[in-house]
């Protein structure tokens, strides 16, 4: 059994790294811009669809993946426009775009399921396990650098306190649109790479992505901490890998039915998140008890001593 578990580790890391790009996208909207962007469910498939159609048509896979990125950027821009200019609530704009993208993706793909077998993909010559760590690291570094530029800082400020940054003269609307576009671009890129790794693109492959993205972000933060942006992006990447590993683990647990897979996955994640909370609670109580002991001892000794000796 341990052999099977170790055997599924490379697969989990592979998938985890590709989905990490999607998690980074979700991080931008969820943590920096402060709303969960449901467009992700749609733009993931948009990226996969665009890349697949281009690859089947003979385009070079890297070019197809870049085109997928820009497809995601377009989708994100629509959400951003709806939210900023249309004054639609962020969550609702994401939902509306997700619904619209379902039909748009059907048009892009032409049919619900596209097979990429036999076509050249970015992984044809290089194993994902070698290519992805380098690629994800490069994207992470670029993202960190961007978030430290003036524009990036304005983006972060927009999420934290839009009124303040607006009073300083920044255009929060453009910032939000930029952030959402960048986020969905990354998600679409992730979708394109997943389609190439798994060999097919399916119209429903994006369903549930937002949940996985949020789970990766939150797990990463809970375990690795998110003090600085550099640390937070690293945490998100590890969170994605850990989530994939949790699923691989849950698949190996034999005591439950196959239908309990999602329940087990949820339980493992709950344990991982609740344990630190319990830890903190226990520590607080111990500290409080120690403090009360100290106070009792101090007041006791004051009673016994005479005069106003300073304790």
């Amino acid at each position: 059994m341990a052999k099977a578990l170790l055997g599924s580790l490379p697969g989990a890391i592979e998938l985890g790294l590709i989905y990490a790009l999607m998690a980074l996208g979700v991080y931008i909207t969820f943590r920096i811009l402060n709303f969960p962007d449901l467009t992700v469910d749609g733009s993931f498939t948009t990226g996969a669809g665009i890349a697949s159609v281009l690859i089947i048509g003979g385009t070079h896979p890297w070019l197809a993946s870049v085109a997928a990125f820009f497809g995601g950027v377009a989708a994100g821009a629509c959400t951003g426009l709806l939210h900023t200019k249309g004054k639609v609530n962020g969550l609702l704009s994401g939902i509306l775009m997700m619904i619209a993208l379902y039909s748009i993706n059907m048009h892009i793909m032409g049919k619900p399921n596209l097979s990429l077998r036999g076509n050249e993909t970015v992984f044809s010559d290089v194993s994902p396990l070698i290519l992805m760590p380098i690629f994800v690291l490069a994207i992470k570094i670029l993202l960190d650098l961007f978030l430290h530029t003036d524009l990036g800082l304005a983006l972060r400020a927009t999420g934290d306190n839009p009124q303040m940054i607006r009073s300083l003269g920044a255009n929060t609307d453009m910032n939000k649109i930029l952030g959402i576009s960048l986020s969905n671009g990354l998600v679409a890129l992730s979708g394109a790479l997943i389609a190439q790794q798994s060999g097919f693109a399916d119209i429903s492959m994006g369903i549930g992505m937002i949940v996985i993205g949020l789970a990766s972000v939150i797990i990463g933060e809970a375990i690795f901490g998110a003090g600085t942006v550099v640390r937070a992006t690293l945490a998100v990447i590890f969170g994605s890998i850990i989530y994939r590993f949790v699923v691989a683990l849950a698949l190996q647990v034999r005591w439950f039915d196959a239908s309990d897979l999602k329940l087990i996955t949820a339980l493992i994640v709950i344990i991982a998140l609740v344990v630190p909370t319990l830890q903190r609670y226990v520590k607080q109580r111990k500290d409080a008890q120690a403090r009360s002991q100290e106070l009792l001892a101090a007041s006791g000794s004051r009673k016994n001593s005479r005069g106003g000796g300073d304790g």
Partner: protein, 352 residues
């Protein structure tokens, strides 16, 4: 920070131990034996080989579950019984495409003799990952289009299986409609355009009906909650309702039966289980039998050692009309003798 890590490591190692101890056989009360877990079922002391198969199913669904049961029944009838000389590693992606990929990777990395994939998304994921073992697919509509096999007669590689559509069946049903229902000028199809099997079948139905001058209108749905409204939208616009082998629509077929019965619209389906529920007619088969067919392919490969590349992809061949007379009454259809004569096996295939 250190303590938090410590507890996390403890929880993780507890889980690893749980996974390790729980594995190595289909049964839950197997004694923990870490050494002989590679592929051996628990306790095959009697002579003869024991096998391990892994099953990847995309979603829990009556047709797919029936397929799986058919496969296991075929294995049992051939002497391969779960728990005795067969270990079955059953995985269900629960309609989550990411879990589908993880399952394919897990199966590829594990020790098994043969992989069964039920439904197109599972088959596509498994075929990509498993290249050194036989793969048998079932409940796949168009294996060539999904690039699972290059050709249907001699697949050539390590993949073969059973396809669940036969275009002949659709043509037979459409001819039946044209012949026995002369006042049907438009047929409405409730369809989930997101499923490749449904799209393929709807196109074939459209072409077959066009030769009789009958028009087709489509009512699209994306999930089971939309099926009722889609069916209601066809009232007044279509003279008959038809559905394909469409997972979403078939799951919500009771809603369509209600609408058909209330508005006296003949309702045709593509599989037997739906006719048993209340559709009027189909040219079809039971998914259990389809699974049985796929199971026989598995037996051929495991027991007789046949090369999967030599085994042609099988299609449902026992095609017959299946009529439900009670449903006919509810939908206001007068069942003529001519209709009944179209059924080759009236005893099993005319449901009273």
């Amino acid at each position: 920070m250190k303590k938090k890590r410590f507890w996390l490591m403890l929880a993780a190692s507890a889980l690893l131990v749980a996974a390790g101890c729980g594995g190595g056989g289909g049964g839950q009360q197997q004694p923990q034996q870490q050494q002989d877990q590679q592929g051996a079922a628990g306790g095959a002391e009697t002579g003869g080989e024991s096998y391990t198969i892994a099953i990847s199913q995309y979603v829990e669904h009556p047709s797919l579950d029936a397929t799986r049961e058919g496969i296991l029944a075929a294995l049992k009838d051939a002497g391969l019984e779960e728990g005795v000389n067969l270990t079955v590693d059953y995985n269900n992606a629960q309609a989550d495409s990411t879990n589908n990929l993880s399952i394919a990777q897990k199966i590829a990395a594990a020790d098994n003799d043969l992989v069964v994939a039920i439904a197109t998304p599972s088959a596509m994921a498994v075929v990509e990952q498993v290249t050194d073992r036989p793969v048998v697919f079932a409940a796949v509509t168009d294996p060539v289009d999904a690039k699972l096999v290059d050709n249907l007669e001699k697949p050539g590689a390590n993949v073969t299986g059973a396809s669940d559509t036969n275009p002949e069946a659709i043509k037979m049903l459409m001819d039946f409609i044209a012949e026995h229902f002369p006042n049907v000028k438009t047929v409405g199809i409730v369809i989930n355009e997101g499923e490749p099997n449904a799209v393929v079948m709807a196109k074939q139905a459209e072409e077959a009906l066009a030769t009789h001058g009958i028009e087709v209108i489509r009512a699209a749905v994306t999930n089971t909650s939309e099926v009722q409204q889609a069916a209601e939208s066809l009232v007044g616009r279509a003279d008959a309702i038809y559905i394909t082998l469409d997972n979403v629509v078939v799951s919500a077929v009771d809603a369509i039966i209600e609408v058909a019965n209330k508005n006296k619209i003949p309702f045709f389906s593509s599989d037997r289980d739906t006719v048993e529920k209340g559709a009027f007619a189909t040219v079809g088969f039971k998914y259990y039998d389809h699974g049985y067919q796929a199971g026989q392919i598995v037996v051929d490969i495991l027991k007789n050692g046949k090369n999967p590349g030599e085994i042609p992809v099988s299609f449902p061949d026992k095609l017959d009309f299946i009529l439900n007379l009670k449903a006919a009454e509810a939908q206001g259809i007068e069942v003529t003798d001519a209709m009944k004569n179209a059924v080759k096996d009236p005893e099993t295939n005319i449901i009273q």
